[in-house]
């Protein structure tokens, strides 16, 4: 076991090649998993006793929410690595995460609103979880806005890294808001072991979690390539890669 494979992740040309090779595979498996999960969730799973078929929104709402949080956390970790150890690939990774995370936060809020209307009678409530998820969206926008507003690319990388790290405190607030406060949003649902959900409802959900995760990996790797190209001004490896 050597540290060589770990150091490869700091090398832009190696990462670029890795991203080019693996993105299609992640994408392909993600697509299959999504179809399987959707079939399981929309067709195979039975209606819920209370919510009837409305609960099926969970099969896109929960994975979107998971992505919105996981992507922000990934972005913050990548930003911290880039800031502390001055690794360009890490900064590129953080930049690549942001737009994807923002879009899935929008998806989470949107599907949540569409689920809330029939279930709670309202599209929106200023409860802790919804409010902090909205704050997450503002944080994503602030991050991308700060990047865009700073001319020097290295300064932009570093300043937005500080912002990403400061904002990460919001992620546990979102996650635990339903346990800490009396929230309109339902508390966490146990999926395995002493599950709150029936087995044939659970496996499509877990499949969708996996599918969305793989999908993120695919799209992230494509964006990462673009960010690496933008950061490599004089490098010779670019010449080979483009021709």
């Amino acid at each position: 076991m050597s540290w060589v494979w770990f150091h490869r992740f700091g090398s832009p040309p190696w990462v670029y090649g890795f991203a080019r090779r693996w993105a299609p595979w992640f994408g392909g498996v993600a697509a299959i998993a999504m179809l399987v999960g959707l079939y399981g969730g929309l067709v195979l799973a039975p209606p819920d006793y209370q919510q009837k078929d409305a609960y099926r929104i969970v099969y896109v709402h929960a994975p979107s929410a998971l992505l919105s949080l996981m992507i922000y956390t990934t972005m913050a970790i990548a930003a911290a690595v880039g800031l502390i150890w001055r690794i360009k690939v890490a900064h590129a990774a953080a930049a690549a995460c942001a737009p994807i995370g923002a879009w899935f936060t929008v998806a989470t809020l949107g599907t949540g609103m569409l689920w809330g209307k029939p279930m709670w009678g309202t599209y929106w409530a200023w409860d802790p979880r919804l409010t902090s998820e909205l704050v997450l969206l503002f944080l994503y926008f602030g991050y991308m806005g700060l990047r865009a507003a700073i001319e020097d690319p290295q300064k932009a990388d570093k300043a937005s890294a500080v912002l990403a790290i400061v904002g990460v405190v919001n992620v546990p607030i979102i996650k635990y808001s339903v346990t800490w406060w009396n929230s309109l949003h339902q508390p966490p649902t146990r999926l395995i072991g002493e599950a709150d959900m029936a087995g044939n409802m659970v496996w499509p959900l877990i499949t969708m979690f996996g599918a969305f995760g793989l999908y993120f990996a695919a799209v992230f790797l494509v964006r990462l390539r673009a960010e690496l190209l933008r950061r490599e001004r004089n490098a010779s490896w670019i010449r080979e890669v483009l021709t």
């Binding site: 737009p99 879009w103 569409l114 494509v222 933008r230 483009l242």
Partner: protein, 51 residues
Amino acid sequence: MSEFFAMSGYARYLWPSFGLVLGVIVLNVVLAWTSLERAQVQARRRLEMRS
């Protein structure tokens, strides 16, 4: 079959939700691709300017 699409009356919340997420999924793929293409074009231009 129409029962499936009706989703016990919740169709107008359920299908737009899935549509929204599908839209976000497709959009992100397209945006990522165009971002990569633009970066490649710019990188090529920088290479040409240098040589």
